[in-house]
């Protein structure tokens, strides 16, 4: 490994192309930390946004008028406002209204940190789209298939879990993939509330080293690779979920 680090140090000395996170341990740790934070934030948001989508789509089919109205209100609110504004709203408006707790040093800290707010905000943002995506999938499941399950005595919840959702899921996978790819890219907004994710750490490094060009090129390629891995994983999943002789 030392050999590689030395090579990049020489590269900088000879050409001026400066990639400090490849030869300087401190910057390397910052970059790795940023990378892991991005991954972790993405995974948390992916998970919760899908959960919100599944539950929201279920509630949209509720027989209570007000349940449906609340879900639709949520979708409109989060779909029709910029995610950065939502993030600020959660962090600065809701965050300051919540009680503070005493931290280890006897000071006062907000009850939720910037990472938690980014996770909440982005999950709600992507979740709003996921509700609509899942709803479209549920509507694509033939009513007659649901009726067959009803006639066999399945409860409403069993029908949703065992029949409607697995079928809807296959229909919506391409649309869901698109939204989840968008979500991973949108995690860069967490930069705005100082979540130490990849963009934030890159910014720290270029501030110290004045190597904006190199860092921007690296960032672009890093996200390209990261989302590429996600997309290929999702495509593989799509193929694995394919039902022989169906669709």
């Amino acid at each position: 490994m030392e050999f590689v680090f030395d090579w990049f140090r020489t590269l900088y000395q000879e050409t001026g192309i400066n990639l400090p996170f490849l030869y300087d341990e401190y910057d390397r740790n910052r970059m790795i930390g940023g990378f892991l934070t991005t991954i972790w934030l993405s995974l948390v948001c992916l998970f919760f946004s899908v959960i919100i989508g599944v539950i929201g789509a279920w509630l949209q089919g509720s027989s209570f008028k007000w349940t449906r109205r609340i879900v639709n209100g949520y979708i409109q609110l989060f779909r029709n406002t910029p995610p950065l504004v939502q993030l600020y709203f959660f962090y600065f408006a809701i965050g300051t209204l919540l009680p503070r707790v005493e931290n280890d040093w006897g000071g006062q800290s907000p009850i939720l940190g910037s990472f938690a707010w980014a996770a909440i905000s982005l999950s709600f943002f992507a979740g709003a789209f996921n509700v609509e995506i899942f709803r479209s999938g549920i509507e694509a499941v033939p009513k007659s298939t649901v009726e067959a399950a009803e006639a066999l005595g399945f409860s409403k919840l069993q029908i949703y879990r065992d029949i409607t959702l697995p079928l809807a899921f296959r229909v919506v996978l391409p649309a869901l993939n698109n939204n989840l790819v968008n979500l991973v890219k949108t995690t860069t907004l967490a930069y705005a509330i100082a979540v130490p994710e990849m963009l934030y750490e890159a910014n720290q490094i270029w501030s110290d080293n004045v190597n904006v060009t190199e860092m921007m090129i690296f960032l672009l390629l890093a996200y390209f690779a990261l989302v590429g891995v996600l997309v290929s994983g999702m495509n593989r999943w799509e193929r694995a979920m394919k039902i022989p002789g169906y669709g």
């Binding site: 066999l152 002789g245 169906y246």
Partner: protein
């Protein structure tokens, strides 16, 4: 009221059903005894399918009474699960679960709804698949089976719930002529085993052969009914005569 096997298994009294303004059933009454095979025939739109869909509460009714083994179906507090354990249904379009194999389709309801042990449910399901002559197709998905094979899986799926009566809603109407026979044979086997069957069908020859009783419906009422021999030979009502002359 306590139901005994001497009472009708399914009993309809003055059943009225409408979809909005459209009256579909206009006072239908009929009784089905245990082990009976009855066929409901009639022109399209005469309310045949609606009639049997009301028996297992897939459609509700506005007036009248439907008793299944003494359980009132026209009841806002109806225990649907209890009803559907007793009444199986097979549909025109098979309606199998496309993401489950034939075997899974058959064993799913017993495991999920009746909370049967998985191994036991699988054993029963395999036996039922053999019974409908589909041995070797256990792991095929519905999309890989022909229409007739899918319909036989659907019959096995319905039988897995061990119902007391099965409703067949034009189960051969979507099939190729050459696969109709295999499905009808399966139903005939069931009838011979003593299963109570209510069929909506356009297969007159089949109705004549297996039915104990034929009902002819038109515009939401039963116009005429009787055992197949008298029904087909000596139809009295002009509407029945006209229908039979067109179809036979």
């Amino acid at each position: 009221m306590n139901w005994t096997p001497a009472d009708p298994m399914v009993s309809l009294k003055d059943v009225h059903k409408s979809f909005g303004e459209l009256k579909v059933l206009n006072g239908v009454s009929l009784d089905v005894m245990k082990g009976d095979v009855i066929c409901i025939i009639g022109p399209s739109g005469s309310g045949k399918s609606t009639l049997i869909r009301c028996v297992n509460a897939l459609n509700d009714i506005q007036k009248g009474s439907i008793l299944v083994e003494g359980q009132e179906v026209n009841d806002p507090n109806l225990d649907k699960l209890e009803l559907r354990k007793k009444v199986g249904m097979v549909f025109q379009q098979y309606n199998l679960f496309p993401h489950k194999t034939a075997l899974q389709n058959v064993m799913m309801a017993p495991v999920r709804v009746l909370k049967q042990d998985k191994a036991k449910a699988e054993e029963t399901a395999r036996a039922l698949i053999r019974k409908v002559r589909l041995e070797g197709k256990e792991n095929a998905y519905p999309g890989e089976l022909s229409g007739g094979q899918q319909q036989r899986v659907a019959i096995a799926r319905s039988l897995a719930m061990q119902p007391d009566v099965i409703l067949f809603d034009e189960v051969t109407a979507a099939l190729d002529p050459e696969t109709v026979g295999e499905v009808l044979q399966t139903i005939k086997d069931l009838a011979e085993d003593g299963m109570t069957c209510i069929l909506v069908t356009h297969e007159m020859a089949f109705a004549r052969e297996v039915a104990d009783h034929i009902y002819f419906t038109d515009r939401g009422v039963i116009v005429e009914h009787g055992p197949p021999e008298t029904f087909f030979k000596n139809a009295q009502d002009p509407r029945t005569k006209e229908f039979l002359s067109q179809i036979l």
